[in-house]
């Protein structure tokens, strides 16, 4: 039974990708946007490559800067500051491991709202987590936790949102900052609890079978 459950979860991303495309085509039939969706296929390829080109520069710049930070010991300082926080979420991960340090850098970038830096730093952290993983083509619990941590978007100053709010005349555009942090933190906890529950349930099933 568990085999099927796990297999189903593994290919969930296939279903979601398929669903996005199938729902789009069917919706286009109903809304009469067939020509729009046809051009979207070509535009999709174009914008993917454009995104990749701008990402390539960002990956190279932060790859280079990170290497300097590592050699100079700056990474160690930042990871020491954030170590209690990272340890709280990843309690089974060695706090002094390269992976934990890389996670700290990603968390720091996210907190400061440096979205462009957070992606390359996050990829770096994920690769280091995968290096500690016994099955390199299967996500382990720490890697799943790291995805949840990143999708919950813990950010101290929501600059992009505030900029938009002030553009449309909000007198105090940062008024949503506290609400955003509370929402992020609780949703992170929900994600972590669900993660933990699934781990407990599937490992129990594994034992009984």
């Amino acid at each position: 039974m568990n085999k099927y459950v796990t297999k189903g979860a593994n290919i969930l991303i296939n279903y979601i990708w398929a669903a996005l495309i199938v729902i789009s085509v069917i919706s286009a039939l109903f809304t009469g946007r067939i020509s729009e969706i046809t051009s979207a296929v070509y535009k999709g390829g174009d914008s993917a490559i454009q995104l990749c080109i701008s990402m390539t520069a960002i990956m190279a710049v932060w790859g280079g800067l990170m290497r300097i930070a590592e050699k100079s010991g700056l990474t160690n300082i930042i990871s020491k500051i954030l170590s209690p926080l990272v340890g709280l979420v990843f309690h089974k991960l060695d706090r002094k491991s390269e992976a934990a340090k890389a996670i700290s850098m990603n968390v720091a970038a996210n907190m400061l709202g440096l979205g462009n830096a957070a992606t390359p730093l996050g990829i770096d952290a994920m690769k280091r987590l995968n290096a500690l993983n016994s099955k390199s083509n299967e996500a382990d619990n720490n890697m799943i936790t790291f995805v949840v941590l990143n999708t919950a978007s813990i950010q101290l100053v929501p600059t992009t949102i505030a900029a938009l709010r002030s553009k449309y005349g909000a007198e105090n555009p940062m008024d949503i900052a506290v609400a955003i942090i509370i929402t992020s933190i609780i949703s992170l906890i929900v994600g972590l609890v669900i993660n933990k529950l699934i781990i407990i349930i599937t490992s129990r099933k594994r034992e009984t079978h």
């Binding site: 286009a28 946007r33 979207a40 290497r67 300097i68 050699k71 010991g73 799943i144 949102i161 949703s187």
Partner: protein, 173 residues
């Protein structure tokens, strides 16, 4: 004020990185080149995942599917007291980062930043990330094929963020 501060943040951080390297006698130019090369190699690995995802997202955004799903989710939204105008943000947020920002822009323009709808959309947009992009890029870079329950856990967090945005705006703002 915050805008100016954040404009200085990135240059200041880059300067801190460079100065710390100089201070510790790191061969900074060489190390930068090595790290940049590593970054380029990683980038090449994630191009296919990005093409796959962006294709699906562009089709989704062009098709009007957002309106169809919003209509379908109306009863569910009513049950949790979520205004119908906020539902598209809940759906778009995990799928497309650029799309979510564009939608917030339109929502704030239409309803104003201090309306309930504007506030809820802002909190929803700021409190979670583009989940599918994160999964595709992070796992694509490491060659992870079996994602196990990543999608379920991450979407649970997204759903929680969407529902909480409504509750917290009602309570706090």
């Amino acid at each position: 004020m915050i805008d100016t501060l954040s404009a200085y943040l990135l240059p200041a951080i880059i300067m801190l990185f460079i100065l710390s390297g100089i201070f510790k006698n790191v061969n900074i130019f060489d190390e930068f080149i090595k790290g940049a090369e590593e970054g380029l190699k990683t980038q090449l690995k994630i191009v296919p995942s990005i093409v796959a995802l962006v294709l699906a997202v562009e089709m989704f955004e062009a098709s009007g599917a957002l309106d169809v799903i919003t209509w379908g989710l109306q009863p569910l939204a009513n049950a949790i007291n979520m205004p119908a105008e906020v539902v598209p943000m809940m759906i778009l947020r995990p799928i497309s980062g650029g799309g979510a920002i564009a939608l917030l822009n339109k929502t704030l323009q239409t309803y104003g930043p201090i309306s309930k709808i504007g506030l809820m959309s802002s909190v929803m947009c700021g409190s979670s990330e583009t989940t599918f992009y994160t999964i595709a890029v992070y796992y694509g870079a490491c060659g992870v094929k079996k994602t196990r329950h990543t999608v379920i856990a991450a979407l649970a967090a997204d759903a929680a963020a969407a529902i909480l945005s409504v509750i917290i705006v009602n309570l706090l703002l």
